[in-house]
Symmetry: C2
Subunit: 328 residues, 2 copies
């Protein structure tokens, strides 16, 4: 039984990888001569866009849900999410035969709401400005005895996301490379702290960099101050997936130790990165999945001459948004 008040270790990431084997997609590392040429770096992309449900979130959700004892599964799960954790939980729940209810903001991208419903979940919408999503989730979960699945501040969720880092470390080592920099997009910090566990164990000298939207750089500021800082605004970023107000308690225990630095990109730079991915990489990346790429393309990672891994964390983007980015 997992102690939910303690962050996971690299060994927990290994255990998560065993649970996810044959269930999650083992996404490849992709290279692009054009990207190498424009950045002067040796870049490997980890396209979690190709993961089940179109983002890395399936990994953590499944690693949490599969450990729920059979006798507790019928009561189902409840989660709050603007869309990617929603789909991850919905997909994992369906595979395990569990009912899932997802509390989603009414301004979440239409595609994310629809895809969550298509995965068989009940979607409860709320107004981000006036309603408290946790209160709604608790009111749903309590009477049913359903289990609440946090989007990041949970050791099993973090360990599941960490398998992204484990695969990066294994595949790079097999290719004979050691990463100088590994950067992923950050909201609550589940992915980046999981990556930190796996990557720093294999490559202690690697820099793990939290990529955040401008104005939502709570991790970078928290690393500098040593305490969990909050973003000024609860919403308003182009990166709808990266709106967590502050680093998680458990995630920050890991990330403050193993990550420790951030990089930002503006909305315009993120849109251009999504357009670059369309034109040059032929990959569909959502804004929140392209911040690390944008930081790299705009010289914020000190990447020249280095071996760099960029995680493209999600690809669930509405046609209207993607259409605008294609021309950015």
């Amino acid at each position: 039984m997992t102690d939910r008040s303690t962050p996971p270790t690299a060994a927990d990431v290994d255990a998560a990888a065993a649970r996810l084997k044959g269930v999650a997609i083992r996404t490849p590392l992709i290279t692009s001569p054009v990207l190498d040429a424009v950045t002067g770096a040796r870049v490997f992309l980890k396209p979690e866009t190709l993961q089940r449900t179109g983002s890395f979130k399936f990994r953590g959700a499944y690693n949490r849900l599969v450990q729920i004892p059979p006798e507790l599964r019928a009561a189902g799960v409840v989660a709050c999410s603007s869309g990617n954790h929603a789909q991850g939980v919905a997909a994992a729940a369906r595979m395990l035969g569990m009912p899932a209810t997802i509390v989603m903001p009414s301004d979440a991208p239409a595609m994310k709401r629809q895809r969550t419903r298509d995965l068989g979940a009940e979607v409860v919408e709320y107004d981000r400005a006036t309603e408290d999503r946790d209160a709604i989730a608790n009111a749903i979960a309590g009477p049913r005895g359903a289990i609440f699945v946090p989007p990041y501040d949970d050791p099993d969720v973090m360990a599941g996301q960490g398998t992204v880092g484990l695969e990066i470390a294994q595949d790079l080592a097999a290719l004979g490379f050691a990463p100088d920099i590994v950067s992923a997009n950050v909201s609550g910090g589940g992915l980046i702290s999981g990556i930190g566990l796996a990557v720093k164990r294999a490559f202690p000298a690697a820099r793990v960099v939290a990529a955040e939207p401008e104005g939502f750089d709570d991790h970078a500021r928290s690393f500098r101050s040593g305490t969990r800082e909050r973003n000024a605004a609860p919403s308003g970023s182009f990166c709808d997936a990266l709106l967590a107000p502050t680093p998680g308690i458990l995630t920050f225990q890991v990330s403050s130790r193993l990550v420790g630095e951030g990089a930002t990109a503006s909305d315009a730079e993120v849109a251009q990165a999504v357009g670059f991915a369309f034109r040059e990489l032929k990959l569909v990346v959502e804004p929140g999945g392209a911040v690390a790429l944008a930081a790299l393309l705009n010289g914020r990672l000190d990447a020249k001459g280095k071996t760099v891994v960029i995680v493209l964390s999600g690809g669930n983007v509405d046609p209207d948004t993607f259409n605008a980015c294609m021309r950015a």
Copy 2:
């Protein structure tokens, strides 16, 4: 020195693979639980969209150009292409320090013309309805002593494209799978005949299927009649990359023996397949790169219960076209 009047063998594909090692991207095989669910098949995608220049065409072009003796390189190369062979030749020529001139129809997608110029090639536009592209190419190549690089009917070009099939065969074998069906999009037949050479050597029982746009099914009709049939119209397909009027002479010598069957998809089905790739696969595929996928999605490959490989041959698509497909 290659005999240009004889089609290549599987051994020539092996030799091409050795020349392309470390130069071309070895594209991964990608799986999608959603695609498996909607088709009832075990599907592996070969995304040549991730290849250098955004299509498989780089493979054949480089395999041809790298065999040009150093003393002949300064005179450069000339090619005719609506866009993907253009970029493949331009990229290979740049890597080998050769000048390249590409004769392109004025109605080729703007992105393809621009990307060919960006790769350093001189682009000469012509009117598809009133001008003869071969005459223009010869008039350019003759005085310069430049070498003409055919888009498909050349043993080195065919062998280069065949490395797509070689990688499919090797990677599937490593995963413990044998393909029942391998399908790729077909214009002049260089890719499908090269795939036939490599795949049928490894898996003699596999069906290799030529995917063609409706109304441009010259290969399927040629397979049935045993002679090289022509398309009724020289243009008018949504699939701008697949407008060759008839199978190549050399390619048909191979494909009539190793391919032997076709499948078609309508323009509307191709647009929907591009939209499916956007929504579910998170891959940018151009119309001509999505015909085999469209044939699969519309039940034309008799794929249920089978192991199927679909080649996504290119991803060079204008934003306007992609925008329309995202909503198809």
